[in-house]
């Protein structure tokens, strides 16, 4: 059962990374304009470069 000592922290770590990524995305404002981002994928990168 000592495998649990390894697996459970690993599971928590992976979950924690997911949670951290979610918070990061939220703070970056990636949830601010869901509809706009869905459409921006159609815009060529170089056309908006400056």
């Amino acid at each position: 059962m000592s495998v649990l000592l390894f697996l459970i922290p690993l599971a928590l770590l992976l979950g924690g990374i997911g949670l951290f990524a979610f918070f990061w995305a939220l703070r970056q404002g990636q949830f601010d304009d869901l509809e706009g981002d869905a459409r921006r994928i159609l815009i060529d990168d170089d056309s908006l470069q400056k």
Binding site: I8, A11, G36, R39
Partner: protein, 728 residues
């Protein structure tokens, strides 16, 4: 859709420079509100156009909210070129004030939801092992180890994600009240404490997973609820924040300066150009013009003003420029008076109790009493203290209003979303509930039952030559009748020089006149009494007079809508400030028996209050500033999107387009959503009828509690999705 519904006109603002912020980095920044962007190409065109200017450093359009942020280096006045370049692309641009503080509730709930979802996933992972093997197989030490991990995940999660409930419960208790959050908080906290004690006593079953799941499901309901409310308030507040204006003032050294109209003070001299809105109440110093007062009085025809006349804030100067002296600061204007009248009327309806609140009022004491009975009962029956507390907690958890908490918000989110796709914007969470209960509808006439702008009626009787002449003259005027004339003529126009005589009409150099009856030499007293608006064209050298008859036309689908409402046995009235003859004509055409003409706003309010005293539930549909207090006095109010800002703010529901049919759609949707909500309550109650006795008897294990709780929530959500689809 929202943006299209709410588009309003700021085209009379001559410069946006007063609204530009200067950032620390020496950059200028402005937030604008763009309407008409519908696709990726729009985003690209708008941002691309802005970035093609060398001085623009940042341009980003938030497609969901319509907000465009621009930053640039250089003078503030550059903004006017930028605005013009977007307008030239064919999009609407308005300035939008930023809210002072951002509403954080929604994103906080989302964070709480994220944390509890993470915790729930990981606890399940461990729980599967706990539930699928009994202690004999697993061994006590492994089981305790797994319990310890569950506790390590659950406790911080509850402490963080439970905050919305704990805060609300604490606030309620502080004021000596209870609400739905009190039993929730109590249940969750007790479950944690008992499980923690159980953990040290090496017990077999712990409640951590139930507590976390409970928090997750409840947060989901909260988040939906917050989203509906957020959407509603942001729609309303964006209207308020768009009500900005600039004014051109004369400074002491004779120069002019453009300032924010909120900074106007009495005694300042303003210049009001043709086509501008009056920035604040003022008195004309020099100049003659005509003012479109429809915003204030609802009257279709403009009023002539000259030196010494008083002008009211919000009305439109449609003829020639004026110089005026401000008499009252913007905050004391007539517009502000009407706002106060609205606020007064709104206080009258704040006693309305939402169905969810009524349910929780009955529910909360019930839950507490059941838990208490369970505890005392088992204690008297001789069970140990901890076991009694455990069973009481099970009652709290199993009765916890998950299903009840989801019953209303899920239906609301769906109904509001579907209505929005049909062009109906619901601004207030309780609106659908109120709408479903109405039995009387009151319509305003101008702009609601009718289109609100006059249409030429006797085009067939006018020779095309006269029509061409009249339209060529009318093209140089902004009078509503001139606009209607030009609109109904689609041939080529002659270039004719005309002078505009304020209050009378238009005149050419050769003496041809287009204007009022008396001015064109017609002496007809009888014309005042009929339902038409008249305009005459007099051609002196041919001794001819041509009569143009205008009428405000009834909306295409108004008869259909009225008939449908009459089929549903709804009481229908028309209340209008317009002339008797006009109102009668409309009422007859629509087959409405009850109507009142020449009604002032105060009388309208009184009329509605009398109806309400007779226990009628009144829906008011109106669009003008004069309707605004009435809209607030009614049980619920609707406005077409063409309505002025004030009316849109007072109305809980706004519908777009040229049709009245959305009223029926909204009403049907409201009724159906109420049925679904009631069904959800019944489902939740049935669940409790089965679950509570079992919990009281102590037969429910944490596993059953967790399964029962989540399945009841899922059933309620599934039932909500049965809501009518409606036509898009």
């Amino acid at each position: 859709m929202t943006q299209a519904v709410l588009s309003n006109d700021q085209s009379n603002i001559t410069s946006y420079a007063p609204f530009v912020d200067t950032l620390d980095s020496n950059e200028c920044q402005i937030y604008l509100f763009v309407t008409g962007a519908t696709c990726a190409a729009c985003i690209q065109r708008i941002e691309g156009t802005l970035l093609s200017h060398d001085y623009v450093s940042y341009a980003r359009l938030n497609f969901s909210s319509g907000q465009l942020t621009i930053r640039w280096i250089g003078p503030q006045s550059k903004i006017d070129d930028l605005v013009k370049s977007i307008r030239d692309l064919g999009y609407g641009v308005n300035y939008k004030q930023q809210k002072n503080q951002k509403d954080e509730t929604e994103s906080f709930l989302l964070r709480c939801l994220g944390v509890s979802a993470f915790a729930m996933g990981n606890i399940m992972l461990v729980s599967i092992a706990l539930w699928s093997y009994d202690t004999a197989e697993m061994g006590v030490s492994i089981r305790d180890f797994l319990h310890l991990i569950v506790a390590a995940i659950a406790l911080p999660t509850i402490a963080y994600s439970g905050q919305p409930f704990f805060r609300s419960a604490f606030a309620a208790l502080k004021h000596g009240r209870t609400n739905m959050d009190v039993p929730i908080s109590l249940g969750v906290l007790l479950a944690c404490i008992i499980s923690l004690i159980g953990l040290f006593e090496h017990q077999e079953h712990l409640y951590f997973d139930s507590a976390v799941m409970l928090v997750f499901f409840l947060l989901m309901g909260r988040y939906f609820d917050a989203r509906v409310r957020q959407k509603a308030t942001s729609a309303a507040s964006s209207l308020l924040h768009m009500m900005v204006q600039v004014a051109t003032i004369e400074t002491t050294d004779g120069k002019t300066e453009i300032i924010d109209a909120r900074n106007l003070r009495p005694g300042m001299i303003v210049r009001i150009a043709n086509g501008e809105r009056i920035p604040a109440d003022c008195e004309v110093l020099t100049g003659q013009s005509e003012i479109d007062m429809s915003l204030v009085t609802g009257e279709t025809l403009p009023v002539a003003v000259k030196e010494g006349s008083n002008l009211y804030a919000g009305t439109l100067n449609i003829q020639s420029s004026l110089r005026a002296s401000i008499s009252k600061p913007a905050a004391d204007s007539l517009l502000a008076d009407i706002v106060r009248l609205v606020e007064k009327a709104e206080k009258g309806q704040s006693f309305y109790l939402r169905i969810a609140d009524r349910a929780s009022r009955l529910y909360t004491p019930f839950v507490h009493i059941m838990a208490l009975i369970t505890f005392v009962g088992w204690y008297m029956a001789g069970l140990p203290f901890m076991e009694c507390l455990m069973r009481a907690t099970t009652v709290l958890i199993i009765t916890c209003p998950c299903a009840l908490g989801l019953a209303v918000p899920v239906v609301q989110v769906l109904a509001v979303g579907r209505l929005m796709r049909m062009g109906v914007l619901v601004k207030d969470g309780a609106a659908l509930e109120k709408l479903s209960s109405i039995d009387t509808i009151i319509f305003d006439k101008t702009g609601t039952l009718t289109y609100g702008h006059p249409i030429l009626l006797n085009k067939d009787q006018i020779s095309s030559q006269d029509m061409k002449l009249a339209a060529s003259m009318a093209i140089s005027s902004r009078h509503p009748l001139s606009l209607a004339l030009v609109k109904s003529y689609d041939g080529p126009l002659d270039d004719i020089q005309v002078t505009e005589v304020p209050g009378s009409g238009l005149q050419t150099e050769t003496g041809i006149r287009l204007g009022r009856a008396e001015w064109c030499g017609v002496n007809s007293k009888s014309t005042q009494e009929n339902q038409f608006i008249e305009l005459y064209l007099s051609i002196p050298h041919e001794h001819r007079l041509v009569q143009f008859l205008f009428q405000d036309e009834i909306r295409d689908d108004a008869p259909l809508v009225i008939k449908e409402l009459q089929n549903q046995e709804m009481g229908i009235h028309i209340l209008s400030g317009d002339r008797e003859a006009v109102v009668k004509e409309v009422a007859n055409k629509l087959n409405i028996e009850s109507y009142d003409a020449n009604v002032r706003p105060e009388d309208k309010v009184r009329f509605i209050e009398t109806l309400k005293e007779n226990h009628k539930k009144v829906l008011m549909v109106g669009d003008g500033l004069n309707d605004t207090p009435v809209l607030s006095a009614a049980t619920i109010a609707m406005s077409p999107s063409s309505a002025i800002d004030m009316a849109q703010n007072a109305a809980s529901i706004i519908f777009s387009g040229q049709k009245l049919w959305p009223i029926i759609e909204a009403y049907n949707m409201a009724k159906d959503s109420q049925i679904k909500i009631k069904q959800n309550f019944v489902l939740a109650i049935v669940y409790n009828i089965f679950a509570v006795p079992l919990a009281v008897m102590g037969l429910v294990t944490p596993l059953i509690a967790a399964i029962a709780m989540s399945s009841s929530s899922l059933i309620v959500i599934a039932n909500s999705f049965r809501l009518r689809k409606g036509k898009e």
